[in-house]
């Protein structure tokens, strides 16, 4: 199987300075891992994927599969399977012909025949018996699965998925997502998944990279990323979060905590680095609780959404938007607090 590595990859469009789509990207995707690139549109995630596939040539840096440099290898010789947002099905070929297209260039694995392989793949994506249809006779979700089957048919070393779900409705997306992760883990195939949807990214990934403005902000497991965002951008982008900027005042007596002043209100925080004047810290909605009586703030409620297990409350404290997750909330104004250890420092200077 395959380990994918990007080292110092940069991409500029246009001549001279041009616009930088990627700046010095370093990345390692481990063998058999489902790795997600997530970020807002224009952050460079799709460019990264296209560079891995060979559709874009990096201006600087190298791409290697299992230590073998790939930068000069054309896409058709890289042994990657790609599924695009628009699927890119060939409208003049049947479903079976689409799935079998890659087998014109590479023999099916394990000595199976082309027809067997096509049947096998259609079964894998639950499209048995659909081989003779034209792609435009299928629903969006079915087309998406044909595209997946087509990408998998030649048994690629690497599977690349570029926003494969974004054209589908939410319910279908979830069921396909499960199907995809099932197939991926069954095959143990190294997979790079691009999405702008951070919920989706957290849900399916072994590890993920958050990208912003052509750079990687953080690479981590979903859990790490959620609880310990490395940058303010990651903190705000991944999941709901409450971010505060404050001035460091004094060290608390026991030495492990500091007092931090945010617009006249003083909080006690853990984990502040020594010798800094200012910090940005975040507190996840679930960490703000009515039962905690430290670091209290008084939130003016604007709206609340009932979500079954919990209620999402959106309000303001001193003009800042605040998100809470409570069991129940009917007040117009409520007071919540957090433990110093639940605040996570994302920036300090």
């Amino acid at each position: 199987m395959t380990e994918l590595r990007l080292e110092g990859v940069s991409k500029r469009y246009g001549s001279g300075e041009g616009t930088a789509a990627l700046r010095d990207v370093d990345l390692t995707v481990r063998d058999g891992e489902l790795f997600t690139l997530v970020g807002p549109s224009g952050c460079g995630k799709t460019t990264t994927l296209r560079t891995i596939a060979g559709f874009e040539e990096p201006t600087a840096g190298t791409v290697s599969f299992d230590g073998e440099p790939m930068t000069a290898v054309p896409p058709e010789e890289r042994d990657v399977g790609v599924v695009f947002q628009s699927y890119g099905l060939f409208p003049h070929m049947t479903v079976a012909e689409n799935v079998g297209y890659g087998l014109r260039f590479r023999d099916p694995p394990n000595g199976t025949s082309v027809d067997e392989r096509i049947a096998e793949l259609l079964e894998l994506v639950d499209l048995e018996g659909m081989g003779d249809r034209d792609p435009d006779q299928l629903s969006g979700g079915q087309q998406q699965r044909v595209a997946l089957a087509r990408a998998l048919a030649p048994a690629p070393d690497l599977l690349l998925l570029d926003e494969p779900m974004s054209a589908l409705d939410a319910r279908l997306r979830e069921s396909l997502r499960r199907q995809l992760t099932r197939i991926q883990s069954t095959l143990g195939l190294t997979t790079v998944y691009v999405t702008h949807d951070q919920d989706e990214a957290l849900a399916i990934s072994d590890r993920l990279a958050v990208m912003n403005d052509g750079q990687i902000e953080q690479v981590a497991t979903p859990r790490e990323l959620y609880h310990e965002p490395a940058t303010r951008f990651v903190a705000e982008f991944v999941g709901d979060n409450n971010v505060f900027d404050g001035t460091v005042r004094t060290r608390v007596e026991d030495g492990a905590r500091y007092r931090v002043d945010v617009d006249g209100t003083t909080f006690e925080l853990a984990g502040v680095p020594a010798g800094v004047d200012r910090v940005s810290f975040c507190v996840r909605p679930a960490a703000l609780s009515r039962t905690v009586e430290r670091n209290e703030i008084s939130v003016a409620v604007e709206t609340s959404e009932f979500r079954g297990e919990s209620v999402h409350v959106y309000g303001r404290w001193q003009e800042r938007p605040i998100v809470l997750r409570l069991e129940d909330a009917s007040e117009d104004e409520l007071t919540v607090g957090f433990e110093p250890e639940d605040a996570h420092i994302v920036d300090a200077w």
């Binding site: 290898v73 695009f84 099905l89």
Partner: protein, 631 residues
């Protein structure tokens, strides 16, 4: 495992290499052909515009731009570009003198049918030769689009007996030599022409259609050539309209008219505008037809280029030609910017179904059907009329029916001496060159489309330059071929670079023809989802293979239409053929028409009729053969 290890072993290295480099090879071949057969000949003459007594100069441009004969009132602006106040003052004075009036006019010659007429009375503006040329080209473009679109509508939306054949024959006017069109128009619309004979049979006329308004008849002649071009381009696009998009719009509550406007029109617009652009460029550079029907008062820039060339004033001819080319390429670039902004994605072809034109008598009498039949009558008069009148003319003389013109052709074929022009070699050469042109021009045009269609601004510039064959004065190109290729260019070491003969003719035709392939293919190619090609490549297909497997089948309509144009251009081409064929046996049908033209026009008209019949048959065959590859 290295991906290279997985290459199939049963294919030879050579064919592997070829496939990987085919696109590059054809691109390079195209570039070489363009340099030798286009840039070299055009450059040889164009360079004269920038040289005076061996020194570089822009003086020729200053002379032409500030000559009111060429640029009318703009000449003042060019002479003093910074005197903005003065120019604005004259503009304001001009606008102030415009008056609008309502009156009743009698626009139809000889018929007292009053029509309310809004007269916009503008004080005379000196247009100059360029201004007038652009003016008549604009009018011709409007007329060609107006007459071409209904044909496209009928051919794309209705099923009727002979539709396929009619569709094939739409480009027939394209191959007719200018002189034949002129004679055909006189024979159809002249005072004793076919139309007046028909009207006379019901007691009307005769009307002086041609004398009444020479400019109008020139514009109709331009429409005769170019409306079929607009129609053909539009039919191709219309048949590629995705019917599902219309159905979606209808299901969302759009009326039929609204769905047409919102869904169909945007899909047709690139084709219609391509047709309009080509028509404008062609009619801007129109040459024989204007003076043949309209007279010297309607002279255009190209007429003056020809005159300068005859007087060996190459500098002025080249200057005028360079200005023509700049104008044409500027328009082309502007259009291509528009076209690339229009490209949508992933149109799976699902062509609209065709309605029967005459399902029953009741429907046949509906307003829309009657309008179609009315248009059909106009088309019959304008397009079929001149050609039919030519054919009739080839069988008649002062004493009635005669076969002597065909007897002449037969006798010349059977008994002609070797130094005489014979009909069969002309037919054979035309067909051979036509097929060879098609085989060369289609790959050239397709490759240029493939290379430029997604290459952004740089691609657009290449694409614009690739349209140069349409934007270079035919007269200047002819002289360039003569000086650059027939007489040859001296190279160091005593070598002389010369190109003539059949191969040169085919390549010259291909150079003239490939832009039609490109313009037919590019919009379709631009509308394909790039994910299709990229999926294919990720699955192991080389760029060439992806083009052959995915792109070409999906743009087959455009390729077949382009191929038909390429054939038509080759068969109809005269000016470079006659130069490259001189002194050889490589003459074609239009050249034979020209050579048979003597004090009696009969033999030439008979040869022209033969040209019509042979090309009509060829178009039907091309479309039938090509139709198998269409979607």
């Amino acid at each position: 495992m290295s991906p290279l290890d997985r290459l199939p072993s049963d294919r030879g290295r050579a064919s592997e290499w070829l496939e990987h480099h085919a696109l590059v090879a054809v691109t390079l071949g195209t570039a070489v052909v363009l340099v030798v057969m286009l840039y070299l000949p055009a450059g040889v003459v164009f360079s004269e515009a920038f040289v005076d007594d061996g020194l570089p100069t822009l003086g020729h441009f200053t002379d032409v731009l500030t000559d009111p004969f060429y640029f009318g009132i703009l000449a003042d602006v060019f002479a003093e570009p910074l005197a903005i106040g003065t120019h604005l003052g004259s503009l304001a004075a001009w606008v102030g003198a415009v008056s609008i009036s309502l009156s009743v006019g009698y626009p139809i010659p000889g018929l007292d049918v009053p029509v309310p007429w809004i007269g916009i009375d503008t004080p005379g503006v000196r247009k100059g030769l360029f201004g007038f040329t652009a003016y008549q080209a604009a009018l011709s473009t409007i007329a060609s689009v107006a007459l071409g679109l209904p044909a496209a509508y009928v051919l794309a939306n209705y099923e009727f007996y002979g539709r396929q054949t009619l569709r094939s024959l739409t480009i027939l006017p394209f191959v007719l030599p200018g002189i034949m069109v002129a004679v055909g128009f006189y024979a159809m619309f002249g005072r004793t022409g076919t139309l007046n004979s028909l009207l006379g049979a019901v007691g009307l006329g005769p009307f002086a259609f041609i004398e009444a308004n020479p400019l109008a008849i020139v514009i109709l002649a331009h429409a005769f050539y170019n409306a079929p071009l607009v129609a053909r381009l539009t039919v191709t696009a219309w048949e590629a309209v995705d019917a599902r998009t219309v159905e979606t719009a209808r299901s969302l509550g759009a009326s039929e008219r609204r769905a047409f406007r919102d869904v169909v029109v945007p899909q047709l617009a690139p084709a219609v505008l391509t047709g309009a652009l080509l028509t404008f460029i062609f009619t801007f550079m129109t040459f024989p037809i204007v003076l043949a029907l309209g007279g010297l008062q309607l002279a255009t820039v190209e007429v003056w280029i020809y005159d300068r060339i005859q007087q060996l004033d190459y500098a002025e001819a080249a200057t005028l030609a360079v200005l023509e080319t700049i104008l044409s390429l500027g328009l082309t670039y502007a259009y291509l910017r528009y076209e690339s902004a229009q490209t949508g994605f992933a149109r799976a072809p699902s062509p609209p179904s065709k309605e029967r034109l005459i399902p029953d008598l009741r429907t046949a009498l509906s307003l829309r059907r009657l309008a179609i039949f009315g248009y059909g009558l106009v088309a019959l008069l304008l397009f079929v009329g001149p050609m039919a009148s030519l054919v009739v003319g080839s069988f008649t003389d002062g004493s009635g029916f005669t076969l002597r013109n065909y007897a002449f052709l037969l006798e010349r074929q059977l008994e002609g001496a070797s130094f005489q022009t014979q009909p069969w070699p002309a037919v054979r050469n035309s067909l051979l060159f036509g097929v060879a042109t098609l085989l060369v021009a289609v790959p050239m045009g397709v490759v240029i489309s493939v290379v430029t269609v997604r290459a952004g601004r740089r691609g657009r510039i290449v694409d614009t330059l690739a349209m140069l064959p349409l934007a270079v004065s035919g007269v200047v190109f002819g002289i360039g071929l003569l000086q650059g290729l027939v007489f040859g260019i001296s190279l160091p070491g005593g070598w002389r670079f010369q190109v003539t003969g059949a191969v040169a003719i085919v390549v010259a035709h291909a150079v003239a023809a490939y832009p039609f392939v490109t313009r037919n293919v590019s919009p379709l190619l631009g509308s394909l989802d790039p994910a299709m090609v990229e999926s294919a490549r990720a699955l192991g297909a080389s760029r060439t293979r992806a083009m052959l497997d995915i792109e070409l089948p999906l743009v087959a309509n455009g390729i077949v239409a382009g191929a038909a144009f390429a054939f038509a251009i080759s068969v109809g081409e005269f000016s470079s053929t006659v130069i490259l064929a001189s002194g050889s046996e490589s003459y074609t049908m239009p050249v034979a028409v020209e050579r048979y033209l003597g004090r009696r026009s009969g033999p030439a008209i008979a040869m022209g009729t033969l040209l019509l019949i042979v090309t009509a048959a060829s178009f039907v065959v091309i479309d039938r053969v090509g139709g198998r590859y269409e979607l």
